[in-house]
Point group: C2
Chain length 433, copies 2
């Protein structure tokens, strides 16, 4: 399985290369260290450290689940102004692991803060004493298994000793691979933009695959920038830009206990101070951040478990965005629609079904549906020149676009999802074996 990504990158930045993977390089103020703590027993990388030698401003959006993992509880409890590092492990979600899971993070943060305090003494002109509260954790993997504290704590010294102050594309790729679970491809995206006259980098990695659902800070995604931006501005930008990116994707309608999207600013570039997200000087950054998030979100969907097709569902002329989103996800989460697309069957009746069951009222006399540029339904009736042969040919594409016009207003929403294949069942019927 594998969907071509080249159609995804619609960037404002000239630096974006229209290829599968962009080359991320050095981002001032960030060091990445990745290794195998043997959590998978296959020697694959599974433990990553993102170290901000001068600290980083930050903002995160977490899962909306009523049961959250221990690392999210930890992160929410710290409420620290600056973060010194983010530690991400795979294989174990540290969810439903109780006191042991939480205490493990407490002990790890002690170990890490001591190790990094030592490192600061060796490397920095003005070393800081690191507070355990400055450490955040990302965890992903199986829920309910004992958190592998011993294996991870054992590797902390190695993780710290591998810190280098210049990053290249290989370490980014290693990190993107090191946070994967059932993903088949690493997810990397970047943009460059300007704040005022200063050049700024926005780099991101993500992992996805299962339990991808709308309305949540879905999956793990980490964005890094060298810009100087306050926690407040980062938080507002992240909330604003997640709506039509990570909150617009769905793989299977399920939600993780561990979802986490974070942005970190190393403050390495001395750009003009931004006090409001309405400031004109932040407009380019705002757009570039949206591009990075959308690029990553689309990659998560395209690599959704068992995906063979990437599906965009645009619902427009709706009373409001909430209704447009409801209809878009009613289509995007329908197993009947998703299996029809997997079977390359232009079964538009199932789109009708999904629109009908969504909830919002629609103007049935005007309703229009298109597959790509092919008119299927017009003025609430099967299009008079509807051609099943052409429609069937269109369904053979790897990128399927479904456009629905509802004619109850002026708002629109685009959702992204993938098809439902036998491979999804394969992956999930024996995920743990």
């Amino acid at each position: 399985m594998g969907i071509n990504f080249t159609n995804f990158l619609s960037s404002q930045s000239k630096n974006t290369k229209m290829m599968d993977f962009q080359d991320l390089d050095h981002l001032d103020g960030l060091s990445i260290s990745v290794l195998s703590a043997n959590l998978y027993k296959t020697n694959r990388d599974d433990l990553s450290m993102f170290y901000f030698r001068n600290g980083a401003n930050h903002a995160s959006i977490y899962t909306q689940s009523k049961i959250v993992s221990e690392n999210i509880k930890w992160n929410l409890n710290q409420n620290t102004k600056k973060v010194i590092c983010l530690i991400v492990n795979t294989r174990n979600a540290n969810a439903f692991t109780g006191t042991h899971g939480y205490e493990s993070l407490k002990k790890l943060s002690d170990l890490i803060s001591k190790g990094l305090t030592e490192k600061q003494k060796q490397d920095e002109e003005f070393p800081r004493k690191i507070n355990p509260k400055e450490i955040l954790f990302g965890c992903t993997g199986t829920i309910g298994e004992v958190f592998p504290f011993e294996k991870i704590s054992h590797q902390i010294p190695n993780l710290i000793s591998r810190i280098r102050y210049t990053q290249n594309k290989f370490i980014w790729m290693k990190a993107a691979l090191g946070i994967m679970t059932t993903d088949t491809k690493p997810k990397i995206a970047m943009e460059e933009c300007k704040i005022g006259s200063e050049k700024i980098k926005i780099y991101g990695i993500a992992k996805g695959s299962g339990m991808i659902q709308p309305d949540m800070a879905t999956t793990l995604a980490y964005i890094f920038t060298d810009a100087s931006l306050s926690n407040d501005i980062l938080s507002k930008l992240l909330k604003k830009n997640i709506l039509n990116t990570f909150n617009a994707i769905s793989c299977d309608g399920d939600t993780s206990t561990n979802d986490m999207v974070s942005i970190f600013a190393t403050n390495s570039i001395n750009n003009s101070k931004i006090k409001s997200i309405n400031d004109n000087k932040i407009k380019n950054f705002d757009r570039a951040l949206n591009n990075v998030l959308l690029n990553l979100a689309k990659r998560v969907v395209a690599d959704g478990e068992g995906a063979s097709k990437f599906i965009s569902i645009n619902v427009s002329k709706c009373k409001n965005e909430i209704e447009a989103k409801k209809i878009a996800f009613s289509i995007g989460n329908s197993p009947l629609v998703k299996t029809a697309i997997a079977g390359e069957d232009p079964n538009w009746g199932r789109i009708i079904m999904a629109i009908g069951k969504a909830g919002p009222k629609i103007n049935l006399k005007k309703l229009s549906i298109k597959f790509g540029n092919l008119k299927i339904v017009q003025d609430g009736k099967l299009y008079q020149n509807y051609n099943e042969v052409l429609a069937a040919k269109y369904m053979k594409s790897e990128n399927i676009e479904i456009s629905v016009e509802v004619f109850t207003g002026k708002k629109d929403f685009t959702a992204y999802t993938m098809d439902l294949t036998k491979k999804y069942i394969d992956i999930n019927a024996d995920y743990r074996s």
Copy 2:
């Protein structure tokens, strides 16, 4: 694929046989006529008539979809006190078929009413002139294809000529088979009970398979009784008893444009007049009706597309029934839970995930989860004697019971669903080919 039904039948009536199919026989006042109008081009039965020679009182619950089929529009427009017959066709849903679809039903009802008026003249001591408004339609099959008016109208005379005044188990089986689409088994259920001193029959047939979703008058289900009951009483009994039967099942979370559950009373038995559903004399009937509906609903789930396991999800000790239902269906509709069960993996972490994403608050310190009688989670922690080997063994059963205690109140709800298998994808990826 096929799930054993013998565990389903928990009946108050001694007449219920603990076997795959109960033997339905004569029900006074009802005649069934079934034939092939060649809608499938395979000569299978696809057109059924349920004829009430003296008319029948009736009540129906229809789909909640915002886009409904033309036959449901027709039925809702008639608002007739008595029904003379119900015509059910498969292969074509008569949904999104526009004016032609609706006008076809109008023409069919003219034809049928004329034919039946003739038949009344021949057969009845006091013949009635049949009004086209006394005819209801059930349609199921593909959405959006031209309604096969010619093929159906051509068979109306044959349908009427085949009417016999005594029914047996073969004609019931023929009818149950004749309304099927992708179902692999006919769905038949019966109960006998008493209203006062009079013996009453309640017979039912249903079809299901795809687009089965909670909160809807799901699928096609037709219940027939020889009791004398008013439209008002029938309507109240149906609404009450659908809540924990057809509205408690889910196959894939999708909803049809055509869902229809109806009850018809031929008034053949001169039982005591029932003026309220709180009347003690209707208690037995009430319970028997619930049994018939639950029996049919469970058969629909057990024969859900690609089902290899029947799953009951009981959520109890909840603040209210709505929250219990939300949690039950969050588990029951989760593709990750359903694929794990298909893979016989006791992946209870996914149950946790589904409880967490459901929405309602839970008492995490007391939360308990059981698979059958096996304790999995107790007091919000993995049960201390949890035995993965036993749990894995349990998952090999054909009937999986998941019990969740939420500890926020006293209400409960049981949902029924099936697992998600590769066969589901097979069936739905090329439904139309």
